[in-house]
């Protein structure tokens, strides 16, 4: 292994970075102007001048009923187009480069709102319903991203998240059907941790390439769960009927319009995920464990010199991360879909990895990225129902296209832990 020690080569990068940032501002400026043109040409002039769009802001179960906003579709999109255009022009001036991502974010938000106004012209659209399903679909993605960053902060790439989620889902469904939710969750956690241990063992003990080990774990998980599903679940249907997980309504907070149904009326999985984000942030950046884990991921040799057991830290983090993935699998199977289907994860573990990169290996970044990916998924589902003439397949591509855009660095390059993916062999 050639472990390059990149000390002192950072200096010239600063100069180059300014120019890439400038180029990125230009690209994003052009993208924003194109978006403005689409909003004006398609969304504003694609509806009759007097069409009205209605966004519903309450669910039938809410305490405060029949909240909604109505507005003229064309006027709304026209204003949005002007705002996006102004943002684009501002980017082309190449000033305040640190606001580029914010400009892109606001521009995309306005674009999506104009799109929804167009799709809901002369009809109504449950905005709060979409935001609520955004939160629900973000949970697995966030948990996947947290799994990834817990491994990678310690220098182990985990491509096997997908397999951990899938196996966790399978075991959770079987155990929950037989013994109840608690057993299901416990089973999911255990199987996630076991696959984490397998990954760590292959990667650390046998120096198997970490990406290869992860991919093989995914294939193993698909094969094994499909095999067991068609051998056991197809015969014993009662094992594919997990106990219902009740929602816990948080008093008072759940009655707040919009925010309440979005965040405070969910199964315990969702609350645990939010708490986990906070706990991991605290753990990684405020505790001795976090400092050690990060040092192992950045410069294992230095950490070793200081007396940290590099391999032990890596084992502990990868196995601990497996618990998170197993929890995600249990949520997917018990609360989100409520049964096991072959290959039910459908690439969500990889979207989680993209969310980890997008979130710059930070727990709160993972949550924010998870919400954005969750939003694109929820948008795809809701718009497919609205019937806009856009083939639903194209809407379903959205989260995957968004993932490519994110990893292609349109939102700026992010730097992984320096020793990410490199086996460490004690000299």
């Amino acid at each position: 292994m050639t472990t390059a020690v990149d000390l002192g080569v950072e200096a010239p990068e600063v100069v180059e970075r300014t120019s890439t940032e400038e180029r990125r501002a230009t690209i994003i400026g052009i993208i924003l102007m194109v978006l403005a043109a689409v909003v004006l040409g398609v969304f504003a002039f694609g509806v009759p001048p007097d069409a009205t769009s209605t966004f519903n802001l309450s669910l039938p179960t809410d305490a405060i009923q029949n909240l909604s906003v109505s507005f003229n579709s064309r006027l709304f999109s026209g204003v949005a187009a002007v705002l996006i255009f102004v943002l684009g022009v501002d980017r082309l001036r190449r000033r305040n480069l640190r606001w580029t991502n914010a400009a892109l974010g606001i521009g995309l938000l306005l674009f999506v709102l104009a799109f929804l106004a167009w799709a809901a012209a002369d009809s109504s659209f449950s905005l709060v319903g979409m935001l609520r399903s955004t939160v629900i679909s973000s949970v697995v993605i966030t948990l996947g991203a947290l799994t990834g960053l817990t491994c990678e902060r310690a220098g182990v790439i985990n491509i096997g998240i997908e397999g951990q989620l899938l196996s966790g889902a399978f075991v959770a469904v079987v155990l929950s059907s037989a013994f109840g939710t608690l057993a299901g969750v416990a089973g999911g956690l255990i199987v996630g941790a076991l696959l984490g241990a397998l990954l760590a063992w292959l990667a650390i003990r046998f120096s198997v390439d970490q990406i290869i080990a992860g991919v093989v774990i995914n294939i193993l998980a698909v094969g094994l769960t499909s095999f067991l599903a068609s051998r056991i679940l197809s015969e014993a249907q009662n094992l594919n009927a997990p106990a219902r997980v009740p929602s816990i309504r948080i008093p008072i907070l759940a009655d707040i319009p919009v925010i309440g149904p979005m965040f405070f009326d969910h199964t315990f999985f969702v609350y645990v995920t939010f708490l986990l984000v906070v706990a991991l942030h605290f753990g990684f950046f405020r505790t001795r464990w976090g400092l050690r884990a990060r040092s192992v991921g950045e410069h294992p040799k230095a950490a070793d010199t200081l007396g940290i057991d590099v391999l032990k830290v890596r084992y502990r983090n990868v196995i601990g991360a497996g618990l998170i993935a197993g929890f995600g699998g249990a949520f997917l199977a018990l609360a989100q879909i409520s049964r096991f289907e072959e290959n039910m994860t459908g690439g969500i573990g990889f979207i989680g990895l993209a969310a980890m990169i997008f979130g710059r290996w930070m727990p709160f970044g993972a949550l924010a990225a998870g919400l954005i990916f969750g939003f694109s998924g929820a948008l795809a589902q809701k718009v497919a129902i609205l019937g806009t003439g856009i083939p639903s397949e194209f809407m379903l591509m959205l989260p995957y296209v968004a993932t490519i855009i994110v990893v292609a660095g349109l939102v700026g390059r992010s730097r992984p832990p320096a020793a990410d993916g490199q086996p460490y062999i004690k000299q």
């Binding site: 991919v215 068609s230 051998r231 990889f350 292609a408």
Partner: protein, 404 residues
């Protein structure tokens, strides 16, 4: 590919005391050594697979505590029946051999593509999507051209090649220009290709008239691959094309200058850059060629089997199995060929196993994953069997982090 010295290597027994296994198998010749590891990997995987079959047999499990002897003999018989069917279905008859080669054809083509990627230091998980787009373009060429078979077949295959190159090359271009890691982009492109197929196969001009699900019209006879052993056996000349591809890839990687650049950039991109190679071009081209080979595999799935129609599921699970094929073959074209034939045999036998012994074919996927785990971790096999098997070339090291 940096050679990874496993910690196990230093702990293996000293050479002057060969273990019992070495003496039994007469290990010592180089051929014996290079085959020993995959063979032991296969045997170990089959043993674990046997336990998986036995322990997932609900009827026997229920008896395990009341009548343990009956339960165990039932389990034993079931494992025996399953593996007998696996053997019969893969090499037990001419038809079985035809089925094995039939299943090996797309695995070999797509596996070669992944091997080319590995050699250039790229992990292409996108064979699935590349097969879909390749199959799609091949279907258009097959449906819209009206030529004699001698021209129509090569052109349709070329359509598959072009489609796959486009889809794979795009991931390569993204990697070269933005540093986007190909593992993530190729997986995302798989899903995009899948949704695209679900839509495009319902558009007029390609959809089978009178159907409302995504299915293309059937290719004309002039675009269908002829059968190799007569009409009663399914294997087509696609298998010969795949074998030809083995030698083309062998030449490309080890005899051509672009292949040298692939391998140079694959083992050390920085060194390649200093030697004056255009890493961006090499990466894009390597992914395009990898995708092109998968695209031919996709064309084969439309041109080479009844009812000669493209569907969104035409790639089946081949694109992922091809990864295990390339890993087992250690990214060496000849090795990939044997690996594809082995996995073709497992797949053909797996169908027989599902039909005759009611053991789901998904077991084959588990066996493949286990075989690759053991081949990728030679130390594990050495520890289990107490042999000093030759590592051969270490499996490609592809983890270079997410940065460019």
């Amino acid at each position: 590919m940096s050679e990874v010295k496993t910690p196990m290597a230093s702990k293996s027994p000293p050479p002057e005391r060969p273990s019992w296994m070495d003496r039994v198998t007469g290990v010592g010749t180089s051929v014996g050594r290079s085959l020993l590891l995959p063979t032991l990997a296969l045997i170990t995987a089959l043993i674990i697979g046997g336990f998986i079959i036995a322990l997932s047999d609900i009827d026997s499990l229920k008896l395990l505590f009341s009548e343990p002897a009956t339960a165990i003999s039932q389990m034993w018989n079931e494992v025996l029946a399953a593996y007998k069917a696996l053997f019969q279905g893969s090499v037990g008859s001419i038809n079985a051999i035809s089925e094995t080669l039939f299943a090996a054809t797309p695995l070999l083509l797509a596996g070669l593509g992944i091997a080319v990627g590995f050699r250039a230091g790229l992990f292409n998980i996108g064979a699935q999507g590349q097969m879909l787009i390749g199959g799609l373009i091949a279907t258009y060429v097959g449906l819209y051209l009206n030529l004699p078979a001698i021209l129509h077949i090569p052109l349709t295959l070329a359509g598959g090649l072009a489609g796959g190159m486009l889809w794979g090359g795009f991931a390569g271009l993204l990697k070269a220009k933005t540093g986007a890691h190909e593992v993530i982009t190729t997986i995302m492109l798989n899903f995009i290709a899948l949704f695209f197929m679900q839509w495009v196969l319902t558009t007029s001009g390609i959809q089978d008239p009178g159907r409302n699900n995504p299915v293309s019209a059937a290719l004309p006879e002039s675009a269908q691959l002829p059968k190799l052993f007569g009409s009663q056996y399914r294997v087509t000349i696609g298998f010969l094309i795949a074998i030809a591809a083995v030698f083309v890839v062998q030449w490309l990687l080890y005899r051509s200058s672009i292949g040298f650049e692939f391998r140079a950039v694959g083992s050390n991109p920085e060194a390649g850059r200093y030697a004056g190679m255009n890493v961006a071009v090499v990466v894009t081209l390597a992914m395009a060629i990898a995708g092109g080979l998968a695209g031919i595999a996709g064309a084969n799935q439309v041109m080479g089997l009844e009812p000669y129609k493209a569907t969104p599921s035409l790639a089946g699970f081949v694109g992922f199995d091809a990864i295990t094929v390339a890993l087992l073959g250690r990214s060496n074209p000849i090795g990939v060929m044997w690996a594809a034939i082995l996995f073709g045999a497992l797949s053909a036998g797996g169908r027989e196993m599902q039909g005759a012994a009611q053991v789901p074919i998904d077991l084959v996927v588990v066996l493949q994953a286990l075989i690759v785990i053991f081949v990728a971790a030679p130390g594990l096999i050495r520890a289990i069997w107490r042999v000093k098997a030759d590592d051969g070339e270490t499996v490609t090291q592809v983890s270079t982090g997410w940065g460019s």
